[in-house]
């Protein structure tokens, strides 16, 4: 049989001597050229337009702008810290067998995901209208307007709102860990909470980190809405300046460039963080592949 097959004059099987011609992507070159032309038009339009670029440069490192930038970064860090803490806490509560804890957590997520963030900020900021003084009766109390500064109101608004979203992210991370891991942890005598802390959460991080990284980036930009309650972050300080000097677009550009700079740095950080937490997974996939081949 085999002899008859090889002996018949068929196609030339010896293609090792031939060279491979790389595909030429004419379409890509054409599209790139077209986009380049459009970009040039846009750049030229802005260069010729009524924008005082010198003012942009001049105010780029103005003290008020830099203070605003620092405040933006501080608020992002504090609000995310509060958000992640609350998120983990409420995710664990939602998954708890205790119906009281579960009910509280469900209510929290329902309320803070169900109302606009700007409304929540205004509520916190105007808390003094409802409660002129806060504290424990007869022991200690403080005037609410002194306690709820723009910083505190913003922190509470952004952090607590973030917590409601992060709780869902953490919950999906916990659910992504195989239930066999919890059973094995139980079988060596771990309590539910110890198993969560030592076994489940470290493995859930792989799923939790990428979306939380995303949320850090959106938090940088979300802080800008705190300008409505007079927290002096970068956008509000840019506005304060343009109310005085009327260079509206210029000051907005200054803020935009700073936002882009911060987000760019964070995106690079996120990339490396994801690679770090994806390590074990890649290893597993490799082993699975070689296992399948074997």
């Amino acid at each position: 049989m085999r002899d008859t097959v090889t002996s018949t004059a068929g196609p030339d099987y010896d293609i090792g001597k031939l060279s491979i011609v790389k595909p030429r992507h004419y379409g890509r070159w054409l599209a790139a050229a077209a986009i380049l032309v459009i970009l040039l038009f846009i750049v030229k339009a802005f260069a010729d337009g009524q924008i005082a670029w010198k003012v942009v440069g001049q105010f780029f490192t103005a003290p008020a702008i830099l203070t605003g930038l620092v405040n933006t970064i501080i608020m992002t860090a504090c609000a995310m810290l509060l958000g992640i803490t609350l998120g983990v806490l409420f995710a664990v509560m939602v998954m708890s067998p205790n119906p009281v804890l579960k009910g509280v957590a469900v209510l929290y997520i329902w309320f803070f995901r169900g109302t606009p963030l700007i409304l929540q900020l205004l509520l916190w900021f105007n808390l003094a209208l409802v409660f002129p003084r806060i504290g424990i009766p007869d022991v200690f109390s403080i005037r609410t307007v002194e306690l709820i500064t723009p910083f505190v109101a913003t922190l509470l608004g952004l952090g607590i709102n973030q917590g409601a979203y992060t709780a869902e992210v953490v919950r999906s991370g916990i659910l992504s860990v195989d239930s066999g891991q919890t059973e094995a942890a139980s079988s060596i005598g771990m309590t539910r909470l110890t198993a969560l802390r030592r076994i489940v959460m470290p493995q859930a991080m792989r799923v939790i980190i990428p979306p939380v990284g995303n949320e850090v980036i959106s938090m940088v930009k979300l802080t800008s809405i705190a300008s409505v309650i007079q927290y002096s972050e970068i956008l509000r300080n840019a506005q304060t300046i343009y109310y005085a000097n009327n260079y509206v677009i210029e000051m907005l550009f200054v803020a935009a460039i700073w936002y882009l700079a911060v987000v760019t740095v964070l995106s690079i950080g996120q990339h490396f963080l994801e690679r770090y937490f994806g390590k074990g997974q890649r290893k597993a996939v490799q082993t699975e592949r070689t296992g399948a081949l074997a």
Partner: protein, 260 residues
């Protein structure tokens, strides 16, 4: 082989009942196991043998009946003629008496072989780390994997993972070892290495309950074989009797089906 008799049985299960919704997984299962006894449970899938094992270390809640391990009532505290369910922490403490080996190994994926083994002694039993590492290395040698101490589960074969899982369970110094189909998820050529470790363990006098489809292993190592079907014990006795000359028609059918 002689079974060492100490005061009272190691495990007593009386009239166990377990339901999942309308499905009855266990119906009136009673079984005693002596100190040092190796018991193999065989039976078709869905017969309730894994559920029985999971009830013994409270991974499943028992719906009726009771279990005593080494004289201690499982899951409840008795006060006069009342039973109070135990807290999460008390159940966790009771589980220290049993070691469990799972079909899917369930090694902690983010820990090396060594870390998997010392996790229980260090985190749960609060023993000194150096001491736990020493004992873990002895166990790794015993299962023939001392050179894999720093390997992650994903880098180990199924057979190696299962041997580490056995070492992890033994590190807690349990009174009783439960094996839930320990070789069912393994490629055929890896089954032998795991059975060898279990054979060694049985030889050392460990009390073992093994849910398995390996009839050869049951014949060679078990003191007693139990055949389960449809949530109940159909027949129990010495391996020769159950595997070679079963009394019940259902047992005969099952063994004939497995051997072919």
């Amino acid at each position: 082989m002689s079974v060492a008799m100490q005061n009272g049985p190691m495990l007593v299960a009386r009239n166990l009942k377990k339901t999942f919704g309308s499905f009855t997984a266990l119906e009136d299962v009673s079984l005693d196991i002596n100190h040092g006894e190796v018991l193999c449970i065989i039976g078709p899938s869905g017969s309730g043998k894994s559920t029985f094992l999971r009830c013994l270390n409270q991974l499943e809640r028992i719906d009726g009946g009771a279990v005593w391990i080494d004289g201690e009532l499982i899951g409840y505290r008795r006060s006069g003629d009342r039973l109070y369910p135990l807290s999460d922490a008390e159940v966790a403490r009771q589980r220290l008496a049993t070691g469990m080996v799972f079909q899917r190994f369930n090694l902690f994926q983010h820990m090396t072989a060594l870390q998997n083994i010392i996790e229980g002694p260090v985190t749960v039993q609060r023993r000194r780390r150096a001491e736990a590492v020493d004992e873990a290395m002895t166990l790794l040698e015993r299962v023939g994997l001392a050179d894999k101490r720093d390997a992650y589960p994903a880098q180990l074969s199924g057979g190696q993972q299962q041997r580490v899982a056995i070492a992890r369970a033994l590190a807690m110094k349990p009174k009783l070892m439960l094996f839930d189909e320990p070789t069912s998820a393994l490629d055929p050529e890896l089954v032998g290495e795991v059975l060898n470790v279990m054979r060694g363990l049985a030889g050392s006098g460990m009390t073992m309950i093994v849910v398995t489809h390996e009839l050869g292993f049951a014949r060679e190592v078990a003191h007693r074989v139990v055949f389960m079907d449809r949530g109940g014990i159909v027949e129990a006795g010495p391996p020769q009797q159950i595997l070679s000359s079963p009394q019940q028609a259902r047992t005969r059918e099952f063994i004939a089906a497995v051997l072919n």
